[in-house]
Amino acid sequence: MPSETQQFWIMRDPLRCSGCRLCEVACSLHHEGTVWPEASRIRVYELVPGVDVPHLCSQCDDYPCVEACNFDALRVDERTAAVLVDPEKCTLCGACVVACPGRVPRIVPAKDHVLICDLCGGDPQCVKACSNAGYNALTLTPRRPSPLHKLYAEHPLETARRLAPQIYGEKQVI
């Protein structure tokens, strides 16, 4: 458990990611009480076999999603810096999804509010699952204001396009 005062973010390394999705299983068990792939707040995309792209909120310094919400449904948790959703106020309009440079927030059928990583209140289950298995594709990292976080908020197709040639060379797999 990280200290109470220090804020953290989840650094992700697609080159270490095995595509095992233990993170997704842990996330949906924690938040939904069952295995629910689409409702996981962290998601690993594998558009191209072996090219695994972990994808989740990276808490941009300027929080464009929070800015974009017209219903006051999103706020920044002072303690963890995570984006918290107020299910009562969320109208599922999708403005936050569009505002996010990585299209990270998710609205899925059967959920009445948008899904965004809440860092599990400071003790992220996905990171535990990943590090217990020894992959360390997700690591809990002290958070300092930095424009670099935003670079991680990227559409998974873009990330996959960049990484695919490492395995497939010139083959047109994406």
Binding site: C20, W36, Y45, V108, A110, A133, G134
Partner: protein
Amino acid sequence: MLGGYHARLLVVDLSREKTSILELDEEVLRKYVGGRGLAVYLLYKELGNRWEQVDPLGPENPLLILAGPLTGFYPGIKVVVSGKSPQSNGVVGSVVSSEVGLELRAASYDGMMIRGASKDPVYILVNGDNVEIRGAEDMWGLRATELIGYINRKIYPELLRKSPAKGVPREPAYLYIGPGGESRVRTAAVMAKLAHAAGYGGYGAVMGAKKLKAVIVKGYGPLPRPAEPGKLRDLMSSVWEKLISRQSFRQWGTAAGGYSTGYVSSSEPIRNWQEEWHDRRELGVQSIETLWAKRFWGDYGCPTTCMKISVVRKGPYKGSVTDAPDYELIAYVGTNLGIFEPEKIVYMSSLVDELGLDAINTGNLLGFVAELYEKGLITRDMLDGVEPRWGDPDSFAKLLELIVERRSLGDVLAEGTYRAALKLSEMLGQDVTRYAVQVKGVAVGAHGVRSKLDYPQPHAYAASVQGGDHTSVATLPVDSDWGELWMVFADSAVICAFNAVDFKTMLAYYNAVTGASLSREEWFDQHSRRILALQRILLLLGGPDVYWDPRLHDDNPDRFYEPLPSGPRRGMSADRGEVSEMLRKYYAELGWDEYGVPTREELERLGLGEAYQLVRRVKNRFHLK
């Protein structure tokens, strides 16, 4: 009601272009569970009364894609592909790692049944509640990586636009065939991802016969509610922990077998099983791992990640990409063809993947042809100029083209090792089935029985309801771990056998998900035997082209009775007396008669009295008492 099921299958009829739902009742699910067990039950019910007449490559044969109650809950993800097998003419539960099982469950189905056949190439797209049969003219002919690219460029963007979710839904999962399946090659696999194959059974040919290029599935909901979520979470954590502790298997996967199965166990196929021992250190996993671009690669929920990705970065085979290759491929498209260099094996493995062929059955076929060629029984002219030579991947690549395109003798070879051997025996006027290392139309997996140093017992393949399948091996005593009755559990609950733990924990898992209170005794004395008995009966019914007389075909390939020519186990071979003794014991333990036919009493005990009508047909055909 049982937890962990939607208790319904999506039925797609390609002839009528209609979809419907098949509800599954609780009693059936309790007895037949899912995956292989459910496949056997559904096929028995639907086709049992005319099994012998059903052409596996005809529209009457349904293609089944079945998850199980543990799909998505138990670590790792598998799905079972089944139907009447164009290899064995029985039922094979062909297991493949694919998130299609997960996505189907997220779309509120426990599986799919695909009926009929299309005139023109099609694919099926399941997107949430929406199911479509669509033209696949542009996809027909594509190889694996081309198809992956096509789906990423043409179909995924459409899913993004039409998704009932906002944000970026994860990519759909899909099963597909390559050019091999399109040509109805009986060694063609139903493929997933890059190199994952439902290989045994030849179901790629079934898809090809239906003109079905791919099944693409995207679901959005949760898995069906487990009965006891709290217990399930505890079990999941404890199984994760057990699997994570298996470090060397995680590190090397099955690739370590490439050297050790030959050198240590003397049970690796070499040059069509003429030998089973080698000391080629360059085949050690330490060499293979130098090609790994990804050391740990896993499917949904799997902490083991025994898959690896190999890439050849220089030399004549530059650009070849495949998984580990795992042991069966190292053996079957490597040593069985006299190829011992890792780069060449990666090339061969990538080639069979690209063509959508099962490496085990296809490597077995290539080895068979190469031996006939070596012996001068078939000539260059018969092979349209191709000269298959041990150790030469380029010659085997040409042979593969010949088979997939069904050119000249390729048309005969495309029927798989056994059927090709029958036809060639006719053409050549001499028996060449003795060079076909298969059991009941299915290639024997790359674990020989002669040295007695590997896990399959002498009768393992001879008595298996899935023929040469090295995962469903007849084992004494019948309730052994890794024996057939045990494997029927793994294949029906649908878990990855490589993630299996002690049976007690797996049962507890099943009970936590379903809320049943299944005991070990009930499984090994009742449920598993019901499934195995029906699978055995359908296998012996066989047809329409070939049949298995248990007195002749419950046996090892002839080659296993030849003495091993090399290695520390030189001179050893299978022993006919011992094999028949073990067959007799195996049948007796299962309550089957001396020919391995389930008895009326046993069927009645299992509540399958009506299946005795089918048994009668078996007995009549072979004049068994």
